[in-house]
């Protein structure tokens, strides 16, 4: 089990964190046309190697974090607070959201 060294809380098991996917710039919704918007929604770089991602320290400080991770080894290359960093996205809200558990 990998650990993520939370810039707030220190090293914690990955199970305390929620994975938010690759970070990517959000097109301006006011001017976006379908093609780039859907590329933003659905397409990832999906590299085998370093990638910049958003994670949430769900069971800890509840902060969203910018994580650089090598996807071939899961080694954490860098981890930082989102402030000042490139904008991360909040997309894919419905992906993986199970409709199962509705009351």
């Amino acid at each position: 089990m990998i650990t993520l060294s939370c810039p707030w809380c220190g090293p914690r098991n990955v199970t305390e964190f929620a994975y938010g996917g690759e970070s990517g710039a959000r097109p301006d919704p006011a001017t976006a046309t379908p093609q780039p918007w859907r590329r933003y929604l659905y397409t990832n770089a999906n590299p085998a190697g370093p990638v910049t991602e958003t994670w949430l320290h769900r069971a800890g400080c509840r902060r969203y974090l910018v994580v650089e991770r090598d996807t071939t080894t899961n080694e954490i290359l860098a981890i930082r607070r989102p402030g000042g960093a490139p904008s991360t996205s909040a997309r894919h809200a419905t992906t993986g959201r199970a409709t199962e558990q509705r009351p």
Binding site: M1, I2, T3, S5, P11, N13, A18, G20, R26, P29, A30, A32, P34, W37, Y40, L41, T54, L56, R58, R62, R63, Y64, T73, N74, E75, I76, P82, G83, S87, T88, S89, A90, R91, H92, A93, T94, R97, T99, Q101, R102, P103
Partner: protein, 945 residues
């Protein structure tokens, strides 16, 4: 020789200097129903071997008799059933008084196994034979399959769950973990502890000591000194425990097999540095007859004689290629066994081992046949590199010693002992001490954050002296073919055949033959299998390579992996009342809620006619404060929020970036900068994160504080025409319609409880008050309301009645009436979605959805036959093809007929349209699309009253 027991074939020896049995504690147990006796400290097989038992199982494919081979956990033929526990390693597990031990995989008995016929046809059961037959006729394959299942190896799983806690888990955080409690591991652990490290030492056997335990008196003296050193240190020692896996972040799974009172305990060890001192496993020799009962490894006879005082035979042929074999010869002779030695270093060999039910002789290298009842081989070692592989190492084959050596490792894993090389004990201990000290330094030095990624470096750079290598004959297979995998009944001939058929890599040959797929997972077999493949393909073992050792190194019970199986349960403050009043529990994720109290239809009628009360505590509640809350609401909801006055609440729907409906709920404005948002129960956690995501990553400049208060309040909905009458005497809030109208919020006192929030909203379609009271007072308020409502006919209602009520009213449930692709335009929201708002999440897709037109829309439906209630998910069909579905349906107690919501295509959405609904029983019925989503009170007169 066919009998499984040969009386007098082996006997208990006089006391041995290193024996682990307690001769003062003798007790009875049974083996296949027959009573035997054991001493405390005996393994199952040592006790039985002392009683003359030689056969412990029948082999998987050919049903050949199998006996002791390794006298260790890995013993492939000694897996037995103990009481209700299958697959117990009989050569490791210590027998306890009264246990019932039985042989596995025999039919009908160990002595007479009818599958033995397979031995006769063995030549046809070659590698992959089943891929080549039973092909036709296909209809007979299930029958063949039942026969194949008869051969399933293994014991019988119990029928019932354990009646008490038998498993546990825990975490541990040592600076240094030492895997292996032989001399090197013990020394390394002590050295690390002396260097100030917190050390955990794990040994698979029942005592520390490794091979010294079954050594000569000199070895025993050394062992006593080492044990004393460990005892004097702060090292935490686990015996009968095994490091079963190494995972990312230097996390190790340690399985304790004799933790007090437990069957197994799993310790999850996050180690600063791990020292792997797992030692070597003696490798069987592949030659004809090598699986016969009476063929043992040299370490096995040494264990039997020295640890358990069991004489393993009377006349032995020993093939020795190393000092361990020589020591075995000495042990055997001391135990009174006649020994014929074949020294491989001097060109000795064995051609084949003779016998049917057990060994009767050996054809040795010069062709002579030597009668014997015991064959002992000492032909070399397999390095237990499993943990190293899991740490990223790719061990390399060293032909000089015919085994693999580690090549490169991360800084947080070190190797010592036999894995690292050969030398005499003193030099080995020096190496181990250096490893322990280095581990302690690395683990405790400032800045060495545990779990941080460390560079991988070659072993030679790892700051440890390299141990010398003592040349060792490379002996894998004799002049004849024999078994490579005893558990799977795979021979060297099968591997050669697989290679010839094109399965010419180690991986393919193993998959084709199933070699190494059995219970020991290759620890005994892999190197022989690779050697066989290399031989067949004409390459070296180094070129053929090893395979990935996958975790776990040793099997782990599901019970230990599950541990206590923590499954959080959430309940509301009113749960004690629900339980007393016969609520049927509804499991909704972590929440347990009342589904109903026995009569949901009556609960519905109470709400429509009088008054009802429901516990809605799980509804998500977020306290939002700050000047930018209106901006946030405007961004996340599809409707408009800038003009929500203090004291008002509004219904809103949220979409994701793809326009799909995400959640819904009402939000009320409590003060100028203070709002209370509600979400669906299941959406509570997700919407909180959704909001925080926007605030923290996309809108960091906005000044909003979000505090989840879902369970700070007990929430209850008082609904029905008489709800006002029930509540009014209990609150200081003016409930008159003028003072507190529909879609308004007030704060005040209820039943003498201050700081309550009251929402006048109507999910049920009735006049209703949603009351949020400080949770500690929830039960008090609930009981007070019920008492006050008694004269008004109040009744508690559950989720089922609520669903019926909302369906009658045509209120959608996100996730039921919508699905994972339903965009807001298809959710029956009418004019709620404000595409003229400058910006909100989901807007681009919703604009485009409107442009191309929706493909589906939510409508209310009523079957023409009022008695029909099409089950939810019944399909709406046109010409036998599905075009839509019933998303919600109930028999409406209010209307006395079936009512539904459904997703239909636009051409069927016009009010009055007749659609065909295919019921699960195959019948088609007709339902009519309604004018309004609400079946009851579409004008909303009741909830505005």
């Amino acid at each position: 020789m066919t009998a499984a027991t040969t009386p007098g074939a082996a006997t208990r020896l006089d006391p041995q200097p290193g024996e682990v049995i307690d001769r003062t504690d003798r007790f009875a147990f049974t083996w296949n129903g027959v009573e035997h006796h054991a001493y405390r400290g005996d393994t199952i097989t040592s006790a039985l071997a002392a009683a003359g038992v030689r056969v412990f199982s029948r082999s998987f494919k050919y049903s050949r008799p199998r006996g002791i081979l390794t006298a260790s956990y890995l013993d492939p033929g000694c897996t037995v059933q103990v009481d209700d526990e299958p697959n117990v390693r009989g050569s490791h597990r210590r027998i306890a008084p009264g246990q019932a031990v039985t042989a596995q995989n025999v039919w009908p008995s160990l002595d007479r196994d009818v599958k033995m016929a397979n031995q006769a046809v063995g030549r046809f059961l070659t590698a992959g034979f089943y891929y080549k037959t039973f092909i036709k006729p296909q209809r007979l394959w299930p029958t063949y399959q039942r026969v194949l299942q008869r051969f399933a190896a293994g014991g019988t799983a119990p029928d019932t769950a354990p009646d008490r806690l038998r498993y546990d888990k825990r975490y541990a955080h040592p600076d240094v973990l030492v895997a292996g409690g032989g001399p090197a591991g013990m020394k390394a652990a002590v050295a690390a502890a002396k260097h100030g490290a917190k050390v955990l030492l794990v040994e698979e056997e029942h005592e520390l000591g490794g091979h010294l335990r079954y050594g000569d008196t000199g070895d025993l003296d050394r062992l006593a000194l080492l044990r004393a050193e460990v005892a004097a240190s702060d090292v935490e020692v686990l015996t009968d425990a095994v490091v079963a896996g190494r995972y990312d972040g230097n996390l190790f799974a340690v399985v304790e097999r004799s933790a007090p009172g437990l069957t197994e305990r799993l310790t999850k060890v996050r180690a600063g540095v791990a020292i792997v001192a797992a030692g070597l496993i003696e490798r069987p020799y592949v030659v004809e007859g090598n699986d016969l009962p009476g063929v043992l490894l040299s370490t096995a006879v040494r264990r039997l004689i020295n640890l358990h005082a069991v004489k393993p035979g009377n006349r032995a042929v020993v093939l020795t290629a190393n000092p361990q074999g020589d020591a075995a010869i000495a042990d055997l002779q001391r135990a009174g066994v006649q020994v014929w030695a074949e020294d491989a270093r001097a060109g000795g060999d064995i051609v084949r081992i003779l016998g049917r039910g057990g060994v009767v002789g050996v054809e040795v290298g010069d062709g002579r046949k030597v009668p014997c009842d015991l064959v002992v081989t000492a032909t070399g070692w397999t390095a237990t590199t499993s943990l190293l592989n899991m740490a990223g190492d790719r061990p390399v084959y060293e032909p000089r010693i015919a085994r693999f050596l580690p090549s490169q490792l991360p800084d947080d894993v070190l190797v010592t002992g036999g894995l690292a090389g050969d030398d005499d004990l003193d030099e080995l201990l020096d190496h181990a001490r250096a490893a322990g000290e280095l581990a302690a330094e690395r683990a405790t030095e400032p800045g060495s954050v545990r779990g941080a990624a460390l560079p991988v470096r070659p072993i030679v750079d790892a700051c440890l002296p390299a141990l010398p290598l003592h040349d060792h004959p490379a002996m894998f297979r004799g002049p004849t073919h024999g078994f490579v995998d005893f558990s799977e009944d795979v021979g060297s001939k099968d591997l050669a055949a697989a290679v010839a058929e094109g399965y010419d890599s180690s991986e393919l040959a193993k998959r084709y033959t199933t070699a190494t797929m059995g219970p020991s997972q290759g620890k005994l077999e892999t190197v022989n299998a690779v050697a066989a493949v290399a031989e067949a393909t004409g390459i070296t073992i180094g070129q053929a390579g090893t395979t990935t050792w996958r975790p776990p190194y040793a099997p782990i019970t599901l019970g230990a992996l599950a541990g206590r199986n923590f499954e959080p349960v959430r309940v509301s403050p009113m749960q004690p009342w629900h339980e007393v009043h016969g609520a049927a529990p509804l499991v909704a994720g972590a929440w347990i809620r009342p589904d109903h109290y026995g009569d949901p239809a009556a609960e519905v009628r109470a709400v429509r006619d009088e008054v009802g009360i429901i516990d809605v505590t799980p509804i998500g509640k977020l306290d939002l404060q700050g000047p930018d809350v209106p901006n946030l609401l405007e961004l996340l909801y599809v409707n408009k929020w800038q003009k929500l006055d203090v004291g008002r609440v509004r219904y809103g729907v949220m979409c994701a970036e793809d326009g799909v409906v995400l959640d819904d709920g009402v939000t009320g404005r409590l003060g100028p900068d203070h709002y209370l948002m509600s979400t669906t129960s299941s959406g509570a956690a997700g919407i909180w994160e959704w909001i925080e995501n926007w605030l923290q990553t996309e809108r960091p400049g906005w000044d909003v504080h979000v505090t989840p208060v879902t369970t700070a309040y007990a929430s209850m909905n008082l609904a029905g025409p008489r709800s006002r009458d029930v509540l009014a005497p209990l609150t200081d809030v003016d409930l008159s319609a003028d003072a507190f109208g529909y879609m308004h919020v007030r704060t005040g006192t209820i039943a003498a409880v201050e700081d309550c929030v009251l929402w006048r909203i109507g999910f049920t379609g009735e006049l209703s008050y949603e009351l949020h009271v400080p949770a500690g007072y929830g039960l008090h308020v609930w009981e007070t309301l019920l008492a006050a409502g008694a004269d008004h006919g109040i009744r508690a209602f559950g989720v089922e009645a609520q669903r019926t009520l909302r369906l009658e009213k045509g209120h959608l449930i996100v996730g039921q009436d919508t699905d994972g692709l339903t965009k807001a335009g298809s959710a029956g929201l009418g004019g709620l979605v404000k595409l003229d708002k400058p910006n909100f999440v989901g807007k681009p897709e919703l604009v485009w959805q409107q442009e191309v037109g929706v493909t589906s829309t939510l409508v209310a439906l009523q079957p023409v036959d009022p008695t029909e209630v099409p089950p939810e998910a019944s399909q709406i069909v046109v010409a036998g093809r599905t075009v839509g579905r019933i998303t919600s349906s109930r028999r409406s107690p209010t209307l006395g007929r079936g009512v539904c919501l459904g997703q239909v295509p636009p051409d069927l959405a016009a009010p009055g349209t007749h659609v065909t609904v295919r019921l699960p029983d195959g019948r088609d019925i007709v339902a009519v699309v309604q004018q309004h989503l609400a079946h009851v009170d579409p004008e909303g007169a009741r909830l505005r009253g």
